[in-house]
Every structure is written in C-alpha cells, then in structure tokens.
C-alpha cells in the first residue's frame, strides 16, 4: 500500500489531475495427476501494477511486472507524454472513499498451509473414484487442483485506499467413456473460495463422469420442434449470452439484444437474473470493485422485466445511472471493464424429475457446443448432446443435432424453473424447461 501511495504521489507531481494505481499479487499452485502419476506441478508468485493517469481529461495507462523504483521513475514521464496523445473523455471519473462491506469470508488459509503431498493424494483418490464410477469409463484424461491467493490493492487520487486478500480453489476432472471406437468426454471444474465448500470427490465424479456415461452412443433424432430441458450443466448456453447482453457497456453501445429493453418484459414472470457480489463465501464475492466502488447485489431481470445492467464508473456516468460495483480488471495489466460477480438465474420450485416426467416429446440437454444465445442478435444456435424423452420416459442418448430459437422464443417460453441450483461456479442456473425449440439434424 505504501508503494502504491508513493507512485500515486509521483503521478500527481507529474501533472496528473486524476490517477489510480492498482496492484495485484498472487501466489498460485497448480497440480495435475493422470494415471496415478503427478503430471505437472506449477508454482509461481506473479504480479504487477497498472497506473491510470489522467491529464486534461485524457487518459493513459501503463502496466509493468517490474515495480522497482527505477522502473516506476522511468514510467511516469512516459505516462504523462502518452496522456497528451489520447482524446478527452467527458465521462472519465473515479469514485471517492466510502466504507466497504466486511466479513464476506473470502479467505481460506488453512487449505493453503496443507503440504503439497496431501493435495497430490487428494487428486489420486479423485481419479481412482472417477475410473471406478462406471464400466463405460475407460480412461482418465487427468485431474487437476488449483489454488490462488490474490491480493488486490488500489490507491486513487480521490482518496480511495483498499487492499484485500481472497482465495480461490478449483478441482477439475476429465474422463473418457468408450463404446467400440467411439469416445465421449466427461469433464469440467468446480470452484470454491473456502475449500470446505468444494463438493466431496464423490459428488464431483458423479457430476462429470455421469455425463460421459449417459451420452456415449448417442445418435441423431428426427428434426422438428421439441420441449427442451437445460440442466445446470447446459444452461450456460443461455446465461453466457445473457451476461454479455446485461453488460452496461454493450447495452449502451447497442451491442446487446436487450439494449433498449430497460423496464420492458423480455421473459416469463418466473424468470429473474441476479448478480450478487456480496454472497457470503461466493466464488466471485468481493467487497469493492477494481475501481473502488463498493460491491452490491443487483437484480438485472426481475420477474421477466429488465431492471438494470452492470456498470462501472464511466459507463454509469454515460448512461446517467449509478455504478453497480462491476468494474473488473482481469489482471494488473488490464484497464477496468465491466464483469459479473456471482451471476445466476434465480431458482424456482419445480423438481427436475417432475419436469422430465411431464415431457411429451423432449430432450434433456446435457452438453452444448458453440455459443448458444448470441448476445448481440439474440439468436440461439448450438450443437447439443442429451437424452431423448418421450411421454415422460428417457428413451436414448442423442448426439449430432443442433438447436435453434430466438431469445424471445426461449425467454417467453419458459415452462418450468427447477430448484436444483448449485453455486460451484461464478455463473450458474437451475434446470430450465423451454416449451418449444427447433432441433435440426
């Protein structure tokens, strides 16, 4: 913090009327195991700083891995020269100091302190469980463990000072189910901020290995209209697009199919989308965003009506609204942009079994390939793998088909929202049933 303060002072003496200095330092460990052997261990302490420098309303940004005094001293005059070359941005601004939410429980030091050997053993056991899950599982493509401790710090010329630590854990699994020549993957990762929140190895295995086993041997089906169930695994093909469409910058510039839909009904009354940066122990929980605006819970779509978009300080000024604490820097070297925190489609009350039992001619989509819902055009298009259901009964696996519809057909055609949401990812959804989508084959 002292270093950031000092750099900030240097910026001001060099003529900056507004500046911020953002620092990231990390401690990372990644271990992967395949076939009972450690395949890789990667360890590092990456980090660096980024400086935003405003002179005459014009901005320049520099970032460096080298935070030595000599390096910073040579950087500041360059910033000052650079700022004269950009153009004045009437919306440029920075937040002032306020109190930030506390006690969000986003640091777990106990897991960090465990010896590497324990983490390797954990992975070996996880892999064995996966290989024993089902006779169709023929090989492991590797399991992995990742831990990251991040310190994010900021000092700005309006008096904001913060620095906080958070932890992030990931456990990944990749197995292959085989039938004859055909191979099918079951893979993915689950995340946690507090390692105890990570599902038990059995649950991780069941979640991803079952996917491979269920889908192996899939074949195309008759093209036409089907009832479609998106499970939490495949609903990403809907919320990825919604996330971009609900980004305030995209909406402001028109790069969003929801751009002119504020206050309008775009979905059925049971459909809500929420971004909650204050969810205790959440994967993307944070007290303050990367510009210094306090974080919050933001309801984006409420009972089918668009209520808000996600904003950083500048885009909020342009759109004449309040920032939502959504400024995000991917690393020290990135200028702030807008990003979601814990974003989710609100769960409903339906039970997945009941919804499946109610299908006349439908598909439970387990896996999608491709973009899914396109955030600019609002068109949904993807390749899918799943299970064919007729009169409430699961018939057989489906592969090699495509699924298409407009956002309107999807969001205004939601037949059921289930109660099976899990917060093991920073974007998530319960299972959703859409009354009608077009399958191509």
């Amino acid at each position: 913090m002292e270093q950031l303060n000092k750099i900030l002072e240097q910026c001001v003496s060099a003529g900056a009327e507004m500046a911020d200095v953002f620092g990231v330092s990390r401690r990372t460990l990644v271990i992967s195991v395949r076939d009972g052997q450690v395949e890789s261990i990667k360890k590092a302490d990456p980090g660096g700083i980024g400086i935003r420098f405003f002179a005459g309303g014009k901005m320049a940004f520099a970032h460096s891995t080298d935070t030595s005094e000599a390096s910073i001293n040579s950087m500041i005059p360059k910033l000052s020269a650079m700022a004269q070359k950009t153009e004045k941005d009437p919306f440029a601004g920075m937040p002032g100091p306020v109190d930030y939410p506390k006690d969000l429980d986003i640091y777990d030091g106990r897991q960090l302190d465990k010896p590497v050997e324990d983490k390797i053993d954990y992975l070996k056991k996880l892999e064995q469980l996966a290989l024993k899950f089902d006779p169709f599982i023929s090989k492991s493509n590797g399991v992995s463990y990742e831990e990251i401790v991040t310190t994010r710090s900021l000092a700005n010329s309006r008096g904001v000072r913060f620095s906080y630590d958070s932890t992030f854990y990931r456990v990944g699994i990749s197995v292959v189910a085989s039938k004859g020549e055909e191979m099918f993957p079951g893979e993915g990762s689950m995340f946690a901020t507090i390692f105890n929140d990570m599902p038990k190895p059995e649950e991780i295995v069941a979640y991803y290995a079952s996917q491979a086993v269920q889908l192996v041997g899939g074949t195309p089906i008759e093209p036409g209209d089907y009832e479609i169930v998106f499970t939490p695994r495949s609903a990403g093909s809907i919320y990825w697009g919604l996330n971009f469409a609900l980004n305030g910058d995209n909406a402001y510039k028109g790069y969003s199919f929801l751009a002119d839909k504020l206050g309008k009904t775009v979905a059925t009354a049971n459909f809500s989308v929420i971004d909650n940066a204050l969810m205790p122990r959440g994967i993307s929980t944070r007290p303050v965003d990367d510009e210094g605006t306090p974080c919050q819970k933001t309801v984006l779509i409420e009972n089918g009506v668009v209520r808000n978009f996600l904003y950083d300080y500048k885009t909020a000024a342009k759109a004449k609204v309040s920032p939502t604490g959504s400024a995000y820097r991917e690393d020290y070297g990135s200028t702030p942009g807008i990003n979601h925190s814990n974003l989710y489609i609100a769960p409903g009350k339906d039970k997945l079994e009941d919804v499946v039992a109610s299908l006349k001619k439908g598909i439970i989509v387990e896996q999608t390939q491709g973009w899914g819902l396109h955030s600019v055009t609002g068109q949904y298009s993807a390749g899918i793998n799943g299970i064919l259901v007729e009169n409430g009964k699961k018939i057989r696996p489906v592969a090699g088909v495509t699924l298409a519809a407009s956002a309107d057909e999807i969001l205004m055609g939601i037949g059921a929202i289930c109660d099976d949401i899990k917060f093991h990812w920073d974007m998530t959804s319960p299972s959703l049933m859409i009354k009608r989508m077009k399958v191509g084959a």
Binding site: I41, T65, P77, G370, A399, T402, A404, K438, A441
Partner: protein, 491 residues
C-alpha cells in the same frame, strides 16, 4: 468524429513531445544470466533427476491503442518480463517462474521445478552452444521507429471509411496492438537460442443496425513483421470489409437447418480444419490416446484431395515462430498427404514419448506457462478446382464466407462453428444472406466428405486457446464439403 475529431492527427505531432516509440526504445532488455549462472540453474532444476531442464526468459513491450465511440479512449503501454524454469521427467513437467531476471528468485524456481522428478541420476548439464534463429521473420521498419501519431492516423482513416460506408453503421471499434517480444531459451542439453519477434494485430468491429436488426461485422489483420506490413495490408480495406459485412447481413433471413453441401470460402474458413482435424493431430492427445487419430499414422483418413500442413516457417505469418518456445526451429510439417496421415505436431515431450523428431510445435502463451503442442500456420493445401466452378457445380447448399469462432472436443471429435456471414446457394448461384447458423459435425466425417478443393489458398489470422492463448493462422482454398456437416438454423 464530432468535436473531439478536431484534435486532428497534426496536433499529435507537437514537436516537443517525445513519441512513445522513442520512449520505448530507451529501455533496453535486461541482461541474461551469465554462463555460470545458467549452468547453476539448470543443474539445480535436475537435483532430483529428470530428462532435461530448461530456462525460458521473455520480455514483452507492448502498445495498444483503442478507438471507440469516435474517441481515442485508451493508450496502453505494457512491460512484462519474467523467467521460467522447467524440469521434465518423462511426461511430467515441474514449472515455476518469477517476474524479471533475479538470480536468487530463479534459483528458488529451479528448486521448485526439480520437485517433480524422482529418478536420481547424474545428469551433466552440457556446455551451451548458441544456435541461430532461421530468419523467417523480418522487420525492415522496426515497429518502435514509427510514432504513435502515425499509427493513430491510420486508425482514424479506417474509422472514417467504415462510418462513411452506410448510414446504418452505428459503431466502429478499432484496436491497434503491437509488441516486441524477446525470447531466450537454454536447456541442459546445451541448446541456447534467442531472438526478437515483432507482432502487429488489428481488430476492427463494425455494428450496423436497421429496424431493430443488428449485425456486427469484423475483420482482423496481423503479422509478425515490421511496419512495412502496411505496404501491402491496409487498415482502410479491412474497415471497409467489416462495414460491408455488417450492412450486407442486415438483410439476412434465418439460416436453414439440416445436412446440406457446404462451400467454404478461402481464408479463415480454414479454422474448420484447425478445429475439426488439427487439434486431434497434436502430439499430447496422440500419446495420451485421447485423439481419434492416435492409431492412424500411415492410414487413409481423408479423400485424396486432402493435404494438411502446419508450417511455422511461413515468412512473417501470424503463426510463424522462428523457433518454438523450447528452442526447436520452425519448419513445414505435412500432417496429412493425399488423405494419409503422415505426421503429428510435437513438443519435446510428445516427440520423446512417441520416439519421433520434434516438429517445432512446443508453444506457450507467456513465461506464465510451460509449452505444450500447438498449431502455428495450419492450412489445407491447394487443389486444382476453380472456386467459381465449385459454386456453379452446387445445385443447393450454403456458402460460408466467414466463421466467428469454433471449438472441438478432441475426445469425441465433435466440432462446432458459429457462422458470421453466409449465403444460400441455389441452382449454382450465391443468393441471399442467412444468419444465426451453427455448423456441427465430426472431423473425420468432414475429411472423407470434401469433394472439391480450389486453387486459391489464403491464410486467415486468429487466436487459439488450449489452456493458453497463442497467435495462429488457419487457411484453406475454397472447398466443398458434400455431406457430414449439419447446419443448425431455425428456418
């Protein structure tokens, strides 16, 4: 550009200002470790055994300029420098890295990397022999010698052309990025090699809107080359192309669904081969047995028309490496020749596992990563057909002018692509535009179903992600895939 545009290019040329270019030239690259230090680090990394150890040093100075909503909103100057130490034992990688070139830090990294190995052997670190980079990449006009004002002027011209193209154009976003990357690789087998790579990367996005219908056109140009790149490549042409696409596609109808012949225009459409076939020929998937091509060496997997090449020696192309990030020189690798699998793409580990020669495909995004087998410039080689004849010879199908992006599951071989610009082919003629299509299929089915390959090979530029991002090109001549691809449209 409204009021702000009045700050024309001339005002950027105020003589008292140092250009960033001059400023950048000031900071020299950090000195490398001396011979003794290199030897100490490489030995330390082999303290618990292993096949070899390696030091990778990288220093990148970058400039990024962004023109958005008619304003030069961002100028970013970046500096990143670091050192990675790796120990390789069989298929195992131990890797640690530090910012900068601090020797004490690098020694600690070497000790961390050594942890992976457990095969105590006495391995002598060989005396370093300097290898010369092959010279596939040239910079007659160094990027740092051109003022930012000149770069901004080119962007403004391009922006104006896109805006003027049509009244339906609503937004133009242009990002200019260049960098100079210095790399040094030294390993315990005595290899030592270094060079400096320039990179230019320009992305132009244009949004058109009419009656609530939106389309975002995109064009990208890039090369590892000095500023003479712009003698033959024009930002203005690229902007006009993105604007044309965004406006033409406003009239698009919903794409048809079903299996139909697909004619893919030359260029970036090669990403189909990259995803559908290329990834499955990367050596790590081969030795792990998780590619459908694992047991196909010497076997016929495609029609006679198919020759697939990965060429990291293509002069100045975006995927060209000079030498890969393990120090293996770039070269032309024929992966499939007249339908028969003739080779794979290797890094040192996969080559060693399969007892084949390294092919120069061990690449990494930055010093934050250890290398893995990756593509470089991957393309389907020229055939003999005339592109116009292929279209004329197709009674009904879809003509794909450009794809946004795609992905593949190497295990199942299933791929998918989001189509950006496409047209119907009716009675041998290209007719109306169609939107909202996805292409899906299996790579092996595409290979056997290509029934026409034209003679107009072109490379398209892009970026490829496989845990790490690397610059690549994908290319192909115009081709027809008679069946095996499903078009997922809603009409």
């Amino acid at each position: 550009m409204g009021q702000i545009m009045l700050l024309s290019a001339a005002s950027f040329l105020a003589p008292k200002l140092l250009s960033f270019a001059e400023l950048r030239a000031e900071s020299a690259f950090s000195p490398p470790f001396d011979d003794d230090e290199v030897k100490t680090l490489l030995s330390k990394a082999l303290a618990r055994g292993g096949d070899f150890s390696e030091i990778y040093f990288e220093s990148v100075q970058s400039l990024s300029l962004k023109l958005s909503e008619r304003v030069f909103s961002e100028a970013v100057l970046g500096f990143s420098e670091g050192t990675g130490v790796r120990t390789v034992d069989g298929v195992k990688n131990g890797y640690a890295y530090i910012n900068g070139v601090d020797f004490a830090g690098a020694r600690e990294a070497a000790a961390t990397a050594a942890f992976i190995a457990n095969s105590p052997r006495n391995i002598e670190v060989a005396a370093p022999v300097d290898k010369k980079a092959p010279g596939y990449i040239t910079a007659r006009i160094p990027l740092a010698s051109i003022s930012e004002a000149r770069k901004m002027e080119l962007m403004e011209q391009a922006e104006q052309v896109a805006r003027d193209f049509s009244s339906h154009i609503k937004q133009v976003d242009i990002t200019y990025y260049d960098h100079i990357k210095k790399r040094r690789v030294a390993n315990s087998n005595g290899l030592r090699i270094e060079n400096e790579l320039p990179l230019i990367w320009i992305v132009i996005e244009v949004l058109a809107e009419k009656d609530g219908v939106r389309h975002q056109g995109r064009s990208r140009i890039s090369a590892h080359q000095g500023f003479e790149f712009f003698d033959e490549n024009s930002m203005v042409d690229a902007a006009r192309e993105a604007a044309r696409e965004s406006v033409d596609m406003l009239a698009a109808k919903a794409a048809p669904g079903g299996t139909m012949p697909v004619v893919m225009e030359c260029g970036w459409g090669g990403v189909l081969m990259h995803e559908a076939v290329g990834h499955g020929l990367e050596g790590d998937f081969i030795y792990k047995g998780t590619s459908i091509y694992a047991d196909k060496l010497g076997k016929k997997v495609a029609s006679d028309l198919i020759t697939l090449v990965d060429d990291s020696s293509w002069p100045n192309a975006r995927g060209t490496t000079e030498f890969d990030d393990e120090g293996t020189p770039g070269q032309r690798n024929v992966l499939i020749e007249n339908g028969i699998v003739t080779g794979f793409m290797h890094d040192l580990i996969s080559a060693g596992q399969l007892k084949m020669a390294p092919t120069g495909n061990g690449r990494r995004e930055s010093f934050h990563h250890y290398p893995i087998p990756r593509m470089t410039n991957t393309f389907l080689d020229n055939g003999k057909s005339n592109p116009a004849d292929i279209i004329a010879d197709t009674p009904k199908g879809i003509y794909i002018k450009s794809l946004s992006w795609g992905s593949v599951d190497t295990i199942s071989g299933q791929f998918n692509f989001a189509v950006r610009e496409a047209y119907l082919i009716e009675n041998g003629k290209i007719t109306g535009p169609v939107s909202g299509a996805t292409l899906i299929g299996r790579g092996i089915d595409v290979l056997t179903n290509i029934d026409a390959v034209a003679n107009d090979l072109k490379l398209g530029v892009g970026i490829c992600g496989k845990d790490q991002w690397v610059p690549v090109t994908s290319g192909q001549p115009t081709v027809r895939i008679a069946s095996g691809i499903t078009v997922g449209g809603s009409a």
